[in-house]
């Protein structure tokens, strides 16, 4: 359990100042910190992404011999040059949008990201990436701890979770992150419709504005109710956004469009959390650069390209960083059902108008026996500690010290992504 959470519980009292922040006040704080409009958009690929088919070592003969039915043909990969070890690499053919960003120098591909003794449990591995603690993966998350160190009062929409359940990464000792899986239905529910529903909301707002003198605990609960109502309007503002590009269909692109709307409308959120699933590809991944895995890549690449293009058109690319991760990579050799089982290190992607693009780290050499492998050469051994990427995002992008948040100094060895 993380330290701040323990202390919070031990003391038996909420030591936090709760309140509702006026947006102008927040803006003032943000201005003072010089990070007024910076956003971090976190994209979680749920299920364990097959990184070896995302960023492909297309000249490694072992890639083809170990994946006879699911390897992407060399002629189809989208070449991104060679890494520091001289391995020629290419993106999956359905990641054309990401290739564009790479060619603009704004996509960093961090190869072999992970940690020692990688967990093969979806749940535990997800918690490890969430807490940034492979030893003790319960308690608060790394982004939650980031929210904990922000000045008070913390805006209710400082972070915006586009999924229904709060991921481990966003669990905070002091703040609840609103879960807004569908911004257009993030509304004040009513048993009635029409005028009666509107009148209910008016009544609720008036009730919550009662100062409740002499009952500070009641005043506090009222403040959260008022804050919720205020949040509703701001979320609605984001949903009224008309994008500058056509986003693809689907939930992931819808969520990205809402995030762009929140940014353009100046809602003030610093952190957005998105998830796109289906990556637990144990069977039938598809071969020849097509099939199920190609569809996943298309959803990811097309969505991110639309988002990146949109925020760039809005002049916000330089204030936006997107980080893409999954809880683990997958095995090198395909299994008996033309899929891949849970593996170890994977690829992290960081993109945005302020990102220093390129191939970071080195690819594994996939022939059995090579030291870049582990688990009897079944898995890719990690090279870059994922926490060092978190450290760069915290120190260099969000402007807070990563050391207390990550419970250690991971700055050394971090890829130069900014």
């Amino acid at each position: 359990m993380d330290l701040s959470r323990r202390l919070f519980i031990r003391n038996g009292v909420a030591t936090v100042t709760f309140g509702i922040a006026a947006p102008s006040f927040l803006t003032a704080i943000a201005d003072a910190q010089g990070i007024r409009t910076r956003n971090l958009v976190v994209v979680y690929l749920g299920g364990g992404n097959d990184a070896l088919n995302t960023l492909i070592s297309y000249r490694d003969a072992a890639y083809y011999s170990r994946r006879p039915s699911i390897a992407v043909p060399a002629g189809q990969v989208l070449q991104v040059g060679s890494d520091a070890a001289g391995q020629a690499m290419g993106l999956h053919p359905r990641l054309g949008g990401l290739l564009n960003i790479f060619n603009e120098g704004r996509l960093a591909l961090v190869q072999r990201a992970g940690y020692a003794n990688s967990s093969r449990s979806h749940f535990e591995a997800g918690d490890i990436w969430g807490t940034a603690n492979p030893q003790q993966s319960t308690g608060s998350g790394w982004l939650g701890r980031y929210l904990d160190v922000l000045p008070r009062p913390l805006d209710a929409l400082a972070a915006w979770n586009t999924t229904a359940e709060t991921p481990r990464a966003l669990i905070s000792g002091t703040s609840g992150v609103p879960a807004i899986p569908n911004a257009s239905t993030y509304t004040y529910a009513s048993p009635n419709r029409g005028a009666a529903a509107t009148q209910e909301r008016t009544a609720a707002q008036t009730m919550a504005s009662n100062p409740a003198s002499g009952r500070p605990h009641l005043a506090f609960v009222n403040s959260t109710a008022l804050g919720a109502i205020a949040t509703l309007d701001r979320v609605a503002l984001a949903t009224s956004y008309t994008p500058t590009v056509a986003y693809p269909n689907g939930g992931f692109a819808d969520a990205l469009q809402t995030v762009a709307g929140a940014m353009v409308r100046g809602i003030g959120s610093r952190v957005f959390w998105l998830q796109t699933g289906g990556y637990d590809t144990h069977a039938g991944q598809g071969g020849g650069g097509g099939g199920d895995y190609a569809n996943l890549m298309g959803t990811l690449g097309d969505g991110l390209w639309a988002f990146y293009s949109d925020v760039r058109n809005q002049g916000l690319a330089g204030d936006t960083t997107v980080v893409v991760f999954s809880e683990f990579g997958r095995r090198i050799s395909e299994n008996g059902s033309a899929g891949t089982d849970h593996g170890a290190a994977g690829v992290m992607m960081v993109l945005g108008g302020s990102v220093r693009g390129g191939l970071h780290g080195t690819a594994a050499s996939l022939a059995p026996g090579h030291p870049t492998l582990e688990n009897n050469s079944g898995d890719v051994r990690y090279e870059t500690d994922f926490r060092s990427v978190y450290a760069s995002l915290l120190d260099q992008w969000l402007g807070v010290s990563s050391v207390p948040i990550l419970g250690g100094d991971f700055r050394a060895g971090a890829p130069a992504i900014f």
Binding site: I171, G176, A189, S190, P191, A196, Q199, T202, H217, L218
Partner: protein, 489 residues
């Protein structure tokens, strides 16, 4: 309808899950002390609530294909929620929740270790349904008002706890401190009353406290449901050396658990648990937690209360029943200032709402997801420290989840609400008064009362006819249950 008198209402909010219409007849003529005895001596009432699942006039259970609360965690949640609504022993369910928070154990880690079905079974198996030990929550139910020392011994040997705090890897070669630390720091005497060396010594005390699987046990989803894991004392893994503590372990003041043979070594743990349970700071720590749970988490614990409760605890040889009876009859509890001076936990909030507004055609499965959004998923506390208490339950997101649950519930009860208030709703004021008998928030100041009257006035000229009542009775219920005042208990 759902109010007896302010004192009994207060008692039932704290020692139960609020007043339902059925309770009014039971408690109407009881004195406070008599009502406390009725709640505390709950063995006088049958534990028949599970048999009433599926009966008319009860909340519904949602079933996918088969209702399997002994091996499916979502079904286990439904069973517990149903019990909270309908048990004739509300204090037993309330204390079960208290212990679930005190010994906070999360399903998710067990599922990683043992698979989902075995994890659910370890938490929620009702003894006798399948082979194997009863689930942890049944242990808490059994010991709800039992002896705390005995409960601690049971918890230390509970398979879910052994997995949760890594007892399986606590060996004499590599003592694992997780359980040793938490039993001292969180379950008994608390921080500032021990030193780190006590934790190491405690870890050594519990070496060899492990699990074994039944012959047919497999750690996956497809094993035999009758397979199980159970506690075993693995003598060969027990550290037989002396263990010395900074506090007395024995009544003669001795601080050292002397070396024992491997075969007798399990007694080390019994000695330490007995010492921890009877440590004066354990009584005080439990007293402070009981203060927050039964009296107030708005007001800090009164030191006189803490000493008084700790004394009853120790004099009663760690029995909990006399402690709770003492608390509920105490002047601190009956002090009118303590009414509504507590933040409701999500479980308390949703169950009280259902008991006051109604449960007709309402499935308890509709409660699970909103409760998670409110921050309390049963069987999934955030960590071993339990749920963060008091004000920490409330944020904009959790408050929105609460008010939106109020809307869901009110919508589901629309026709029933209208039908019950029809004869009482000749004017908007009468409707509000009738609804405030049924739904009981903390006292409303003038401003919220005016807001509610304005809401009714917005209906136009008052006819009290079906459609108007349908709309406004449900709207009022939603506003009252979704109000800040209603979040206090």
């Amino acid at each position: 309808m759902a109010t007896v008198n302010p004192e009994i209402d207060h008692l039932l909010r704290r020692a139960g899950f609020g007043v339902s219409a059925n309770d009014v007849d039971i408690y109407r003529d009881m004195s406070h002390t008599r009502a406390v005895d009725y709640l505390v001596d709950y063995e006088g009432r049958p534990d028949d609530v599970d048999e009433r699942m599926g009966r008319p006039d009860h909340a519904l259970i949602a079933t996918k294909d088969l209702f399997a609360p002994d091996i499916d965690i979502d079904d286990a949640r439904q069973r517990w929620l149903f019990r909270m609504i309908h048990s004739r022993r509300p204090l037993q369910e309330k204390m079960t929740m208290f212990w679930h928070n005190h010994f906070a154990t999360a399903y998710s880690k067990l599922a990683v270790d043992s698979g989902e079905r075995q994890a659910a079974k370890m938490l929620a198996h009702k003894a006798g349904t399948l082979r194997g030990p009863q689930g942890q929550i049944e242990l808490f139910r059994q010991y709800a008002l039992g002896n705390f020392r005995d409960l601690l011994i049971q918890v230390a040997q509970d398979p879910a706890m052994v997995i949760w705090l890594d007892g399986q890897s606590n060996t004499k070669a590599k003592p694992q401190e997780n359980f040793g630390r938490e039993i001292i720091e969180l379950f008994t005497i608390g921080v500032d009353n021990y030193v780190e060396s006590d934790v190491y010594a405690a870890a050594r005390v519990f070496t060899g406290w492990n699990l074994r699987g039944s012959d047919d046990y497999r750690k996956d989803e497809y094993g035999d449901l009758n397979a199980y894991q159970e506690f075993v004392y693995n003598a060969g893994q027990h550290d037989t050396g002396d263990k010395t503590f900074s506090f007395p372990v024995y009544s003669n003041g001795g601080r050292t658990i002397a070396s024992r043979s491997e075969s007798a070594g399990i007694q080390d743990g019994i000695d330490l648990i007995t010492a921890l349970a009877t440590h004066p700071e354990t009584g005080r720590r439990l007293a402070r937690k009981f203060w927050s749970f039964f009296i107030s988490d708005v007001h800090a614990p009164d030191p006189a209360f803490v000493e008084s409760v700790a004394t009853v605890y120790l004099q009663g040889r760690t029995e909990i029943r006399p402690v709770i009876r003492h608390i509920l009859n105490s002047p601190w509890f009956t002090n009118p200032e303590m009414q509504f001076a507590r933040y409701s936990w999500p479980a308390e909030y949703v169950i009280r709402s259902i008991r006051e507004v109604g449960w007709q055609n309402f499935s308890v499965d509709k409660v699970r997801s909103p409760m998670a959004a409110m921050g309390q998923q049963l069987y999934e506390p955030p960590n071993v420290g339990g749920w963060p208490p008091g004000a920490a339950w409330f944020s904009t997101g959790t408050m929105l989840a609460r008010t939106n649950f109020a809307a869901t519930l009110a919508a589901s009860q629309k026709p029933f609400l209208a039908a019950t208030v029809t004869p009482l709703a000749g004017t908007p004021q009468e409707l509000l008064d009738a609804m405030l008998v049924r739904v009981t928030p903390a006292p409303l100041d003038l401003l919220p009362r005016q807001a509610l009257m304005s809401y009714l006035a917005a209906a136009g000229s008052w006819t009290g006819d079906g459609e108007q009542l349908n709309t406004r009775a449900a709207g009022l219920a939603r506003l009252l249950i979704g109000s800040a005042e209603y979040q206090l208990v």
